[in-house]
């Protein structure tokens, strides 16, 4: 048994949805850009891109497959002879959707879907990603250590003995921090607990 697709359907019935999408695709290839609702644009995008992929192959079989969706032979001709050669070296992503805000009348979110006309430029892979990530990790550790140091200095004023203990603790914590981040977090938690106890001791004294 054929299972209907998940989610909302355009138009109400499968046949109506097919007709809407084929008409939208026809208009898109005829005019190059169309304004429609965001939902229709989002559903049209994969349909149109598949048609362009078929048009790029360009043989008779693929032309017949495209003619199943686009009934207008003139539009299919322009698709195969003018639009498909533009996308010869572009590996997918032939269309672009830009949201243009709600429509007057029913407040439906509208969008412009258009064929990408710019010449294809492959993206350069940035090698700065990994060093940047490492750089963000390393400054994090000293910051936490400074916070610990500030906490301990505040306690130093109150109780000398406990402060001395904490300095030893802090040395341990910094060593742990040098090793790895999770250990450092537990170290700070211990220090916070120590600080709380120290504060209570000071009150008693």
């Amino acid at each position: 048994m054929p299972t209907p697709k998940k989610g909302a359907r355009l138009g109400g019935s499968p046949a109506h949805q097919r007709l809407i999408l084929s008409n939208l695709a026809t208009s898109l290839f005829e005019h190059g850009r169309i304004t429609t609702t965001e939902a229709k644009a989002r559903m049209l995008r994969p349909v149109a891109e598949r048609l362009i992929t078929k048009a790029k192959k360009g043989d008779l079989h693929n032309r017949r497959l495209v003619l199943r969706t686009i009934r207008d032979k003139g539009v299919v001709h322009t698709l195969f002879t003018e639009i498909a050669p533009q996308f010869a070296e572009r590996p997918g992503g032939y269309t672009r959707i830009t949201k243009i805000g709600p429509r007057k009348g029913d407040n439906a979110p509208m969008a412009v879907i258009e064929l990408v006309t710019e010449p294809y430029q492959p993206k350069q892979r940035s090698k700065a990603d990994r060093p940047a990530a490492a750089a963000t990790e390393t400054p994090a550790a000293p910051v936490v250590e400074e916070e610990v140091a500030e906490d301990t200095t505040a306690e130093d004023v109150l109780v000398e003995q406990v402060a001395a203990d904490e300095v030893a603790e802090e040395g341990d914590a910094t060593e742990a921090a040098a090793e790895d981040a999770p250990a450092e977090e537990t170290g700070t938690a211990d220090d916070a607990a120590e600080a709380g106890e120290a504060g209570e001791d000071a009150d008693k004294a």
Binding site: T98, K99, I100
Partner: protein
Amino acid sequence: MAVPKRKMSRSNTRHRRSQWKAVAPSLVTCANPACGAKHLPHRACPQCGQYGARANQRPVL
């Protein structure tokens, strides 16, 4: 069919409806220096029809 057992009091109705509040949308300034209008983020500017960051703006409308 399940139906409500009691009439909902005016108080309860009004308490519920008092929570229906409109919130002002957060707007961004159009990146087009000639326009500079406020518009919804991630949408084309309705005044000048431009979309995108300062570097790669493109007309949409």
